[in-house]
Point group: C2
Chain length 291, copies 2
């Protein structure tokens, strides 16, 4: 196990609080005063999670939207965010993007902290929400026989990233300004058996849901909607940052919103994901992992 993996495993042990599922499940879930609180925290670093030359307004948008996407996957209504901000090269642009995204989702900035430091800019955001359906969906409750569904296409962020990196005329908006599917999450929360957002790639995130649920997923690659040329289907299934919702429903059930059935849960095999009949393990490259 790598140094990082060992640290994360130790943090997960630390986070094994009876009332909370923390690092093991992206969001923490906490019962309080007749409400179910949902909390998530993401950190982003310049040069790792965003390009140094990217518009800080887009960085702000994505920092907030990616955290709200975690709340969406819990069917949670956002109550507010707290920002950890390291001053950068254009703080006014960051603020403009922050105002945009908070206004778009009607979410207040509750507080935070600002620091000056040398080195690449590091940003942190905590989002707090309340579950609209209880219990809040988990990624750990998919059952053998369930259908596996996704809300929309993957691969768009990949094309957007390439357009931005290569400075082409292609539209990079899907990468720069992803949407958090909040209302979709609220509609799905009462009916799903498991749910999460796809931030690190469909195959990798599906494998995490499979491992957490103690099942495997058989996925039909042709059934996955992609926002990329057909020749790049394999990449689109592995690229992250599209922030679609991935969820399971009992066999035969139909979702209350438009979505695509891409596979089914089967008894746990050695591989968490079987793609078109071929077992895929983490070692064989299910996607990419931010570290």
């Amino acid at each position: 196990m790598s140094r990082e993996a060992a640290f994360i495993a130790a943090l997960r042990d630390l986070a094994a609080h009876p009332a909370a599922r923390g690092l093991a499940d992206d969001c923490a879930v906490l019962e309080l005063g007749g409400e179910t609180l949902v909390l998530t925290h993401d950190a982003m670093a310049e040069g790792v999670h965003f390009l140094p030359e990217q518009d800080p307004a887009d960085v702000a948008w994505k920092l907030v939207a990616s955290n709200l996407s975690d709340l969406a996957a819990k069917g949670a209504e956002p109550l507010g965010v707290l920002l950890g901000y390291q001053f950068g090269t254009d703080d006014a642009r960051f603020l403009a993007g922050l105002e945009d995204v908070l206004a778009h989702y009607g979410v207040p900035l509750l507080g935070g902290d600002t620091i000056s430091a040398t080195g690449p800019q590091v940003l942190g955001l905590t989002a707090l929400g309340r579950a609209t359906h209880r219990p809040a969906p988990s990624r750990a409750d998919a059952k053998v026989g369930d259908g596996l569904w996704i809300t929309g296409p993957v691969g768009g962020a990949m094309l957007g990233f390439e357009a931005l990196r290569d400075k082409t005329a292609e539209d990079s908006r899907v990468f720069r300004r992803p949407l958090a599917l909040l209302s979709e999450g609220w509609a799905l929360a009462p009916v799903v058996t498991a749910m999460m957002d796809v931030s690190d790639g469909l195959l990798l995130d599906a494998s995490r849901m499979a491992r957490a649920s103690g099942i495997s997923f058989a996925i039909d690659s042709a059934a996955v909607p992609i926002a990329a040329p057909e020749a790049r289907r394999a990449e689109a299934l592995r690229w992250g940052e599209d922030y679609q919702l991935l969820f399971t429903l009992p066999a035969g059930a139909e979702p209350p919103i438009a979505a695509h059935r891409v596979g089914a849960a089967c008894a746990a095999g050695e591989a968490p994901v079987v793609l078109d009949g071929i077992p895929l393990t983490e070692a064989s490259g299910l996607g990419y992992e931010h570290s």
Copy 2:
């Protein structure tokens, strides 16, 4: 106004949510499900908030304790923390300190995020609590005539920092492992008119309470307990990171715990703090400000 000050002012405007007091008041306060939630987020950077050669276990301790101190000042009981962790030179030592401080305060790690990035280590922590007394005390409600009190001495962190920096045999524990005065905060919350923790220096933090409350404080420097030689009293009143609680009580009232009366609130003058009869403004160096 500096670039940083303008950004912070703009963030404060953004944070002017009717249900929340965010960056303007350190902690956000949010009513939910019959409870009052209190949230705070602090970021710390290597080389700014901690020394590169410091034991990461002490850094972890201080990161958590300084956030819990913000909850203490609201009379809040901690419900948990979320960690934004950038991998550093000795993650195992950081984890050991994190375990220590969470066990000491009985606070769960609810979740968080880990990142790898080049450059100085940047850490973020969000602490969530519930108010034990409602409304939670604010720093903005000191009244003319109130007495100004502090729970204990200042200046200890200054000596501890110097011991650590200069590698002397003096005890640096007060700087390395500050305590969050949670039970003191709980005892005080029902009786204070205003309360905050002293993180940036007694005079600077008192001036903030004065500005927020629309009053001025007359402070008697000789009445302030210090944990430093008498010759360094003026510095001790300006040094931060001792995490004492600073609070006001109606004239004649006595606190329910041991504390020291150091001054009184008077009608707002031009200076937020009058020390031994001498008006002090922010420009004249009330303390130091982390940026």
